[in-house]
Symmetry: C2
Subunit: 346 residues, 2 copies
DNA sequence: GAAAATTCTTGGAGCGCTCCAATTATTCGC
DNA sequence: GCGAATAATTGGAGCGCTCCAAGAATTTTC
């Protein structure tokens, strides 16, 4: 690849003049400019390489989005939640004229990705992963953690998951439900993990901070109704896993309410119910979490905990762009009761 | 910000050794390594700046996606079509461990964005925009144009829009329709542009190559049935413009079939029909284009021209990643007849 | 037509890093 | 304990560019 120097040599001018031709053409005499442009064309010079400029100038004008867990970036676009979050971030980038980089990282490359991504800041899709946070810190770029709180010196933005969880369970116990199955989020790729009653401690200890908080809310609300979360099956599935619904119905025959940690999982359950001819909410009630656009369009429409996901993504990106002192934002939630919940059968 | 040299000075070692501590720690004696690490911590050195490396090494390990027209990147995520295209590209990036950069560019910054984006190649969301293509060429990075053909020396991947358009119109004329309204894609932001019968030449000349091809298909299929496209109103709207449906019904009262260039626009029409109590397909038939996932879930389900959008995005990204000689790919289409079309009323 | 003012052009310094050949320190073998 | 082998460290060159002070060329002014 030819360089500024090569072009300069070919045109009989200095590197500096060639640079001016490309960056401040008004500074160079028209005839010279044309000579330089001709030389550049002849050599196939494609304009100043951004690498060189970068070293001198600094900013990448881009913010990075790193998916939660070790999810592939495609999964982020595919998931209703991820999509809305990215949409919000994209809105903020549009307003700022910045690029939004979806940064790829498998389990063992995400640390390196943080170190090397060509961005001015990061959105870490929900994760309290200590290693990730500390490498983000080390890099000394602004970053925001979505959906968990990593202390006062780190930007974070999360939903009041506890409150949402309480609201869901109170709604269901209020309707008379006593037997629940909980559909939790598996943090890595792979098939469903089933924790039957009595062996649910492991589930409670695992996964994202997000799950802890929501599970905590579930546990407390169940306790209010004299129930114990330890008696309920907990099933961890990857959101979007099409088998999740089947596993739930296979394993949790006597649950009258299936409580999912995400709309996407709840929708899978709805699909499977339809397939099996199980009536929702007649035979079983189903709840989601997130209030994605999809949740309003299912049959029946999903009872869910709504939050402003797009707003969350936008705010996350704005926090990076603004580069202000760290803040910890907690977004409100609201229970949206729709058609997928009713009194238990009998 | 401290540099390798600063750290080296503080630790009493050379720059090279500090570099080794971070990149090939096994090369440096443990005690020294610790001394260097301590110095780095003390100075708040965040590890080697990727900028420096970049200059030496080259690849960005990222591909850029530039939205069609001057659409903001948020619009790409929001639109069903854009989302699937990006999803496909993300799949290919996942497989290759690359970053997917959604590159921002307004009308007057897109050229500069192409020049300066920190990527190894581009996907140009459908656009035959001469300036853009030539600046992409100039930069000498591999790039792929989606949805139009820019000649044998440029990668492109497009759908057989003409065939799809023919199929739609033949289906509708076969059902007995004679009065159509055409919903075309406005390339810039802004309200609907209405071209009433007799003034449609302008519409035929404008917009994306994509529209030309599809409009050409419509025109020919109409001609087969003894009809003239010049007699049909053509309305250009921005996909996702929620008013599109209203404009169509306000302006095209006697059309028995509304033919949209994208599912998204067709869905808007469906929504508006519902709002006005106009029965689809009883009173008016509606067709989409693209076969997005959404099109199967509308009420009634949409008759549309299906194509493998995700596959298209994936292939586009793969073409860049592979960096092989230019190819021009034409993807097949298939008419999918669903519930939104029927014989005209009366 | 010479000095002053203006416009253009030059090339060195430096951005932070990696690479590598050369140098220095350490360990090994007998 | 000494030379050879091995391991660890160094620092210069260079990646492609921008910036800028200085110098050269041209134009203006009186």
């Amino acid at each position: 690849m030819p360089t500024l120097d090569d072009v300069g040599r070919a045109a009989g001018v200095s590197r500096g003049t060639v640079s001016n031709v490309f960056n401040r053409p008004e500074l160079v005499r028209p005839e010279l400019r044309e000579r330089v442009e001709a030389a550049a064309r002849a050599l196939g010079y494609g304009g100043p390489d951004p690498r060189g400029r970068l070293l001198k100038e600094g900013k990448f004008n881009a913010i990075g989005f790193m998916p939660p867990g070790a999810y592939p970036i495609a999964e982020v676009i595919r998931s209703p939640y991820g999509r809305e979050l990215v949409l919000g971030a994209a809105q903020a980038c549009d307003a700022a004229g910045a690029t939004l980089s979806l940064v790829n990282g498998t389990d063992d490359t995400r640390i390196a990705s943080i170190r090397e991504a060509l961005v001015d800041g990061f959105i870490l899709g929900h994760s309290a992963d200590i290693d990730l946070v500390s490498s983000a810190k080390r890099r000394r770029l602004p970053f925001v953690i979505v959906e968990s709180d990593a202390g006062p010196d780190v930007n974070s933005i999360r939903t009041d998951g506890r409150k949402g969880a309480l609201a869901v369970i109170r709604h269901l116990t209020g309707l008379g439900h006593r037997n629940f199955a909980i559909l939790s989020i598996r943090r890595t790729a792979g098939p469903a993990i089933v924790h039957m009653p009595g062996e649910t401690e492991r589930a409670l200890a695992s996964g994202f901070a997000l799950d802890h908080e929501r599970l905590g809310g579930f546990a407390d609300a169940l306790a209010e109704a004299g129930l114990s979360i330890g008696r309920m099956p907990i099933i961890e599935t990857t959101p979007g896993d099409p088998d999740a619904g089947a596993v739930v119905f296979d394993q949790c025959g006597d649950a009258t309410a299936i409580v999912a940690m995400s709309d996407w999982q709840a929708i899978t359950v709805l699909d499977e119910a339809l397939r099996r001819g199980i009536h929702v909410p007649g035979t079983v009630s189903v709840t989601g979490f997130d209030g994605t656009a999809e949740s309003a369009r299912t049959t029946p429409p999903l009872t869910t905990v709504a939050q402003d996901i797009v707003g969350k993504g936008r705010m996350a990106a704005e926090m990076i762009l603004a580069n202000a002192p760290p803040r910890q934002v907690v977004m409100p939630v609201e229970l949206v009761v729709r058609g997928s919940t009713a009194r238990p059968h009998r």
